[in-house]
Amino acid sequence: MNRAFNRTSLTHLTGLLRRCQSTLVVAEHNNEKLTPITLNAITAASKLGGEVSCLVAGINCTKVVEQISKVQGVKKVLLAQHDSYKGALPEELTSLILATQKQFNFTHICAGASAFGKNLLPRVAAKLDVAPVSDIIEIKSPDTFVRTIYAGNALSTVKCNEPIKVFTVRGTSFEAAPIEGGSAASENVASPSPTGISEWLEQSLTKNDRPELTSAKVVVSGGRGLKSGENFKLLYDLADKLNAAVGASRAAVDAGYVPNDMQVGQTGKIVAPELYIAVGISGAIQHLAGMKDSKTIVAINKDPEAPIFQVADYGLVADLFKVVPEMTEALSK
């Protein structure tokens, strides 16, 4: 009888703890628009079972707050506007997050595992004296996460016994939260005084009209086999027919064919589109780490021994300079 009572109270207590969980998602944005990976991070945060708040820090982010308040699953939007948040410098954002944490006592703090999230969250974690967990692909429970190690060649399940769990979320492993249907209240949070130890000077972004690489449904990627930057035009033409984003292997970036923000791989971007077409890419471990979770992989390569064929659903052993234009032509019909 006594034991039964204990068990009930224990279940009750666990339930209470679960309800007491609260997660802060640090929103990534450019002062105009929310970066899509934030929506994937919100989905991950919702899986923890507690209340989800989003922190929007920037110079002028009324529009972003408006967008994020409507996102399903978000309970509260915390807003911090200050000139010192120009360029989203981690030195300034960290003290803001620490102040916010002090006020609200979140059990979890997360962000998307983008250049922004990877730059910021470890700094926050160290200030909280907790070990962060990077680039998680699955949440098993509020303290147990799965992530990849060794360029995606092993899956590691980690239990985090820290009082505050700080983690970044692999965008392609969680659906984007719906951008309608939510009605979060927004609240201003005070900004601590600027640290002034860093300064943002400028940005040069690669401009194009194609879908964004990490969220595109179709990706066409080129490697060293393209032989020059000009030849990438073949891929752009094919991509246009498929409404695809264009990616590249490290070899293509190092050879200067395309800018580095197009790189797919362990050290570049991780993509998981419905269709990934690898053209003139051998398929080194480093590259596979960035694309092997794609639903369908197509390889076009003239070397039948290329490792890419071991992961490709459909392989075509042929000269890319002949077959890529053919494919573009075939899709125009």
């Binding site: 470890p122 160290a126 190690i149 060794y150 590691s156 400028e202 923000d261 992989i297």
Partner: protein, 254 residues
């Protein structure tokens, strides 16, 4: 700036090795497997040595945390041009749970002890793929950080860093002392020549224990298991472009 640079180097399984997961799912097989310096750390060492060659700094100190074999990695850094090494010895159980939080505490303590002006690290280790240590070291020291650097220039008591971000590049200017983490395109690391490898044998490597630096190695992260990722089904080879396009249409991909 004419101070001292601390470079963190990590010994990892060579990037070209196809790793194997242990049958008992506790980790990956490391015994008898080729190890070398983490590629991003090589880039960090190269950058530090270049700064010294430009006479912008006076000394490069290479640091590695780990068991005895970490000394080989420090030797490599010395052969590339680092002046001296510090081996922070961590072995056994402590080494198994050694993570970025512990390493950053060690680096922060060393930075103070050695009065470093700059810490250069790789942006991530290719084994744990964490991408955390540099950011955490900067936080513990309250120094600014220039992560994923593809260009570093010293300007008086500031560092201008061009960073690789998702949409392209961005430039920041940070105060020194600072922490910089190297991206792939920062430079091309040199090969250590035989004479330099011989010279490196004469350079000093100091041995330290984390306790001497006042660092507690307790970890609150527990690895429950390590598994193989799901294997992909073997695909098919198609003969023609038409064949490929019709297969993709059938599968509903285009």
């Amino acid at each position: 700036m004419s101070g001292r640079v601390l470079v963190g180097v990590k010994r990892v399984i060579d990037y070209a090795v196809k790793i194997r997961v242990k049958p008992d799912n506790t980790g990956v097989v490391t015994d008898g497997v080729k190890h070398s310096m983490n590629p991003f750390c090589e880039i960090a060492v190269e950058e530090a040595v270049k700064l010294k060659e430009k006479k912008l700094i006076k000394e490069v100190v290479a640091v590695s945390c780990g068991p005895q074999q970490a000394q080989e990695t420090i030797r490599t850094a010395l052969a590339m041009g680092a002046d001296r090494g510090i081996h922070v010895e961590v072995s056994g159980k402590d080494y198994e749970t050694l993570g970025p939080l512990q390493v950053s505490k060690i680096l922060a303590a060393l930075a103070k002890k050695e009065d470093a002006q700059l810490i250069i690290l790789g942006k991530q280790a290719i084994d744990d793929d964490c991408n955390q240590t540099g950011q955490m070291t900067a936080a513990l020291l309250d120094w600014p950080q220039g992560t994923f650097a593809s260009e570093v220039s010293l300007e008086g008591d500031k560092v201008k860093v061009v960073r690789e971000i998702d949409g392209g590049l961005e430039t920041i200017k940070i105060n020194t002392p600072a922490v910089v983490t190297a991206d792939l395109r920062l430079n091309t690391p040199r090969y250590a020549t035989l004479p330099n490898i011989m010279k490196a044998k004469k350079k000093k490597i100091a041995n330290m224990k984390p306790a001497e630096l006042g660092v507690d190695l307790t970890s609150r992260l527990e690895v429950l298991k390590v598994e193989e990722p799901p294997q992909r089904q073997a695909g098919v080879k198609v003969e023609t472009v038409d064949d490929l396009v019709s297969k993709l249409k059938e599968a509903g991909r285009i």
